[in-house]
Every structure is written in structure tokens, then in C-alpha cells.
Assembly symmetry: C2
């Protein structure tokens, strides 16, 4: 972070990079985020810290798309990255750069998935990870941080309290501060999501991209990726219309967008089942809003009830068990389709930020218990 | 399954396939299991049922390898497949072939991960899935089956009781029987694990492959893949030494191997923390044993305590949160290294069959709870 408190953003010599960063060269490289090395901040390949960041799939959603009136709906499933969420992109690149800079230990506050990812990559890099999370954070995230060898504390408070404890530890022990947007490199990792989707759309962009917004770094990363590709002459100038998706119980970006403001204000009493987007004020809010305004995009809040219903519906129609944050993007797409903001034939891309497996507490109906000599009774209506 | 009760195995015209199944052609195709289509039983690409089966990474384990005295130890992380386990390979191909055959509904018993995978792919194919699992199956597997839209029952008994209920339902309703090795296609899907690793080892095989053995279909699949590649002249004749890894509380293959037998006998009172290998008698046991004998391999049982300790150690040294079955293979490698059955410079490949995220009940130490105004106390010894 700069001294004034605003995020730093990495810049590259795009003219030099364009000599080797070509469509043909990329296609011949391994299908992992490291294929974009010219536009990543890790100079020496020996410093790459990897748990196997393969491409994530673009999954067509034909059945659900038909039901919702969108015939080109697809989902990019980031839950198949190491540690089960898109946070792996930021951690892989952020930790690699930290290793290149000689970092021996970092500290960070987390609500969940970011901690799991940074713990795993930190350990793999031989860097000590000091992580503070609210005691209300999901059990699975506590488990994965500990299992990945991090030093973990809970705080009887919010993520902002965890952040203050981390800030004191950074000052006292000289730890590298790995908090969101206090280092400029995790956004460079998230950027690879944008490069990947452009390649998967055959060097084009979809008409609409929906992203669940907590800190917003994922959307900022995609936007930055597209702008860099355009500057290099690798992509037409057209932008996708970005949609920031939030929960009704925590929608600071939506409120700012509706009021045509350039930054958001703190959202009091934030709450939603989609824990990953329960962020009352994002440090990069102004960058998210810029991407929305520039692209003719939108910001929309959906209810927890619609998120839960859509999560189940996605499973029943497409076989995908995705996280509530991902389900929120489809619920938002449906609402925007009903308003005719999305047209029936638009190419609509929803980003699923994590695996449903990271939310084991989801409620399901009670299952019938059979005795060993029983026979199945299949309801005729099914 | 044939009428005599033994598994059927698919055969191909390898001479015809070899015309297009070449190293160069494969390298130019998408990095997914569908690149091996000439040797898969799905004839029409329109019948492919996919949730995005990208290549799984080969992860070097240099830190842990050094500690354990193996300088070329690596792990293939199957936990990054859709539904979080290697079962996705068998389900993707098995369900696709079922769709091609016109199947409208299938039934199967499961202890866990197979059910999650078949539920997901079944729903995606528009095929009804009827699944019966022991009431003691992990909660996460019940959740994922239901969330993927399957019809799920519990049985107050074992997997064998679930199997009998399924058999009655198959007879009564005419369902397709999707039980392990009662259809010959899931092994064809698992075979792609073998093709992938051969490509990742630059068209060679490692010296040793360790696999956690429950039903054993994964190991059988790798063995079949290597034999097919050899028959096509794409791979040297040398086999890797296969190691069947089981738990001390359920080790029928190990007992049969030690007695030089060609099939196993039922293991009474089977129990282990590694739920996925808690199989007292595998239908394909004779195929597993054949692969062990043919390759000069081994069978070894490890204790639950060593599995749990190794699971933690893998996390702390490599940052990987893998499943207990996967951890068992590394514990076995360590033991075989101590016996000098594995040499220090052998290329050793361990297969991790699933994500640690599917085992959220793992025990971790109690975490210290801080007040918001606290400062971190870092132990000087850490």
C-alpha cells in the first residue's frame, strides 16, 4: 500500500511483453495461470510457488439457462483451483512475489477462503504465515489454515478487529502485510482469471460478466486483464458489461452505484449467508465502481432466500454444487433477465468463486432410513 | 457384469486408434480427459457429460521428500477434479456411456465419494440417480448427493446392505446398475489417470506408483492404460512397480498378496479413518493382485495413527490438505523407503484420491481466542 493508504497497482512494459505474449505462443504453453508470465510480477520462474493452478472450466448451463430465459449462460468454476476457491490465484502469485522479495513471514486477517489459500501457498514457499480470523469464521477455514501449517488465532470480534491485530503485529515484528490490497500482487494473480476467460471465449469477451463482490479484487483483476490485452492489440475494444453482485444484507457497492458515487460508504450490521461477500467497505471499491461505469454495467443485491434457492436449483438442474456467492450471481442474472437488462441471446458468464464443499453446513431435508431388508419405494411422480 | 458375476472389461481396436492417438495429436488437444477419446467407450461427442474434467496436477514434494529420504517424490492431486475426488473420472465416462445407451435412471450403493460424483454427472445428463448409502457415511457426501439432485436413502447397515437394496430395486424397476464393476465403463474413465500421468512423465512411467486400495478400480485403470499404450507402441515395455496401500484395519489385498494368492477373502470387522478404503472384499481384487505380481510390486498396510500423522505432516511441509487415503500412500512410501524397497533416487508417485475439504471432521488443536485490543505473542521457538 502507498503511504496515503490507497492501493498500488502494478504496471508492465506491454510493448516488450507483446513480443512473446501472443495468441499462438500462449496456446502452446501449459494450461495453467503461469502461462501468462510476461504479465505477472514474478521475474524468476524458480520463485513460482505452485500447488497446480490448472485452467478452471467454462461450464455451459443449458438446462438452467433455458429455464431462466438465457440461451448462452455459462459458469466459470473457480472451485476447482487448489484450496477450493479463486483465492488460490491471488495467493499463488502474491506468495511467489513475496518469496522473490525475500519475505520470511507474513501476517493477514481473513474471513475464510483467503486465509486457507495464503496458508497453503505460504507453507509451500517456506514462509511463515500468521493468520487472525473472527471466531465466527467457518470451521472448515480454521481447519484448512491449521492443516496447511499456518499459525492461527481467533478474535472475539469482526474482520476489522482482526485487521487491527495484524497491523500491530506487522509494526512490532516486521511481518510482510498480506492484507487485501495492502500488497499489489494478489490482484495480478486474480487477473489471470480474465486472461483465461478471454482465451476460452476464443479471444473475445462475453456480453455480461457477473461477479460476487466482497473485496472486489476478482472483478478488478478481470477488468485489468481485458484492458492490458486491448492495449497490446490482442482483443477488440468492446468491454463486457460488468455486474457487481451483492447480498441485500451487505450491499455498499450497490448503494454507491445507485447514487452514482465513485466510492462506497461503510455498511452497518452487515450479514448474509454468503460469508465471502460480507464485506461492509472494500478498499478497492472505487476500482470496482470504475469498471461498472466504464462498461455500462450494473450493481444488484439479491436476498439470502434467493441465493439458497438458486444454489439448490443449480444442483438439481446442472449437477453443480457451488458456493452461495456463486449462486448469487445466477440469481442476479435471473433478475436482470426479468428486467430485460440481459437479453435472451446475450453471452452471460457467471463466476463461481468457490466449491460448495467449503460450505458443509448447508441444510438438506431429512433422509429416509431403511432397514437392510427394505425395498425402495419410488414415488410415481418423480 | 457378466452372468457369471465377474467384471466385464472393454477392449478396443488399438491398431485403428493408433492412427490418430499420437503424441503430437494429443498434445494439441484440450488438457482434459476427453482428449483420449479413441480409447474411451463414448462414440458420439454429443453424449459427453462434463463438469470440466481438466488435467490434475503433478505436485513435486521436495521438502517432505527430503525429510523422508526420497528425492523424486511427487503427488498427483485428484482432489481438484469436479466433486473433489478421482471418482469424477469414472462417473464422467460411465454416465456418458449410460446416456449413449439410452439409460433413463440408474441405482447404486455408495460409501461416499462415488455417490457424490455419480449424482452430479447423472443430473447433468438428465438421468435420474437413485442412491443408497449407510447411515454412517460422511455428512458431506449426503449433502453433495442431495444438492446434486439425486434421490437418496440411508440404510441402517453396511455398504453391502445398501448393495442388496439396490439389487432389488434394479430387478423391480429396471434401473441401470451403476455399482462398481457391474458396468464396465467407469474403469475406462479411471484409465485416463494413467494416460495423464504418462504424458506428465514425458511419455515414460515413474519407478513406483502407490495407490490407496478400496475397490481398486483406480489402480486397475492405470495398469490398463499403460498396457494399452505399450500395445500401441507409444510407451516402453517397463512397468512401474505398483504398490497397493491399505489400512491395518482393512487389508484384504495385503493379506492375499503376502500369501501369494490370486484373490482376497472377506475382511471381518473392517474399520479405518480412511473411509474410502474401508472395503472388506473388492470385486476386482484379482485384477489388482495381477498388477502387483506382474509389475514386481508390493502391498502394504499402514496404521490409522500413521495416516493421521502423515496427513498433518504433508500440510505442514508442502501446504497440501489431502484426504486420509492419499496420506496413507505417503506413509506407505516412507515405510517402504525404510525397508529399502524404495531407493533414494526412485521416481515415486503417490496418488491423492480426494480433497481434504471432503473430511471436515479432522481434529485440530484448540485455537487461542484474542480480544480485539490484543497483540500477537509469537513463540520465539517457532
Amino acid at each position: 500500500m502507498s503511504r496515503c493508504g490507497s492501493p498500488l497497482v502494478a504496471r508492465y512494459d506491454l510493448f516488450a511483453a507483446a513480443k512473446t505474449f501472443t495468441r499462438a505462443n500462449l496456446a502452446a504453453r501449459e494450461a495453467s495461470l503461469w502461462r501468462y508470465s510476461e504479465l505477472l510480477p514474478v521475474r524468476d520462474p524458480a520463485n513460482r510457488v505452485s500447488l497446480g493452478e490448472q485452467f478452471t472450466p467454462l461450464v455451459p448451463m443449458r438446462v438452467l439457462g433455458d429455464e431462466l430465459g438465457m440461451d448462452r449462460l455459462s459458469l466459470k468454476d473457480e472451485g476447482l483451483l487448489p484450496t477450493g476457491s479463486f483465492k488460490a490465484r491471488g495467493a499463488a502469485v502474491g506468495v511467489s512475489r513475496a518469496r522473490e522479495l525475500g519475505v520470511r513471514a507474513f501476517a493477514m486477517p481473513t474471513n475464510g477462503n483467503a486465509g486457507g489459500a495464503w496458508a497453503a501457498y505460504g507453507t509451500r514457499a517456506g514462509i511463515e504465515a500468521y493468520i487472525v480470523m473472527p471466531k465466527s469464521a467457518p470451521a472448515i477455514n480454521k481447519v484448512e489454515c491449521v492443516m496447511a501449517g499456518a499459525h492461527v488465532w481467533l478474535v472475539d470480534g469482526l474482520i476489522s478487529d482482526a485487521g487491527k491485530i495484524v497491523a500491530r503485529a506487522v509494526a512490532e515484528y516486521g511481518f510482510y502485510d498480506a492484507s487485501t490490497l495492502k500488497e499489489p500482487y494478489r490482484i495480478e494473480g486474480k487477473k489471470t482469471l480474465g486472461f483465461e476467460l478471454v482465451e476460452q471465449f476464443a479471444w473475445s469477451v462475453p456480453d455480461v460478466i457477473l461477479y460476487p463482490i466482497g473485496g472486489g479484487v476478482g472483478l478488478i483483476g478481470i477488468y485489468k486483464a481485458i484492458r492490458e490485452l486491448q492495449a497490446m492489440g490482442l482483443l477488440e475494444e468492446r468491454l463486457p458489461r460488468f455486474v457487481a453482485v451483492q447480498a441485500e444484507g451487505c450491499a455498499p457497492i450497490v448503494r454507491a452505484f445507485d447514487a452514482h458515487q465513485n466510492e462506497s460508504t461503510f455498511w452497518n450490521d452487515a450479514h448474509t449467508v454468503a460469508f465471502g461477500i460480507n464485506v461492509p467497505k472494500a478498499l478497492g471499491d472505487f476500482l470496482v465502481l470504475e469498471a461498472l461505469y466504464e462498461s455500462g454495467g450494473a450493481a444488484i443485491a439479491v436476498s439470502d432466500a434467493s441465493i439458497i434457492e438458486m444454489q439448490r436449483r443449480i444442483g438439481e438442474s446442472e449437477g453443480l454444487f457451488i458456493c452461495p456467492e456463486g449462486a448469487a450471481t445466477i440469481a442476479a442474472a435471473y433478475e436482470l433477465r426479468r428486467r430485460d437488462w440481459i437479453a435472451p441471446h446475450d453471452r452471460v458468464l457467471a463466476i463461481n468463486t468457490g466449491s460448495g464443499l467449503k460450505y458443509p453446513e448447508v441444510t438438506i431435508p431429512e433422509l429416509e432410513l431403511l432397514q437392510p431388508d427394505a425395498t425402495l419405494r419410488i414415488d410415481s411422480g418423480k
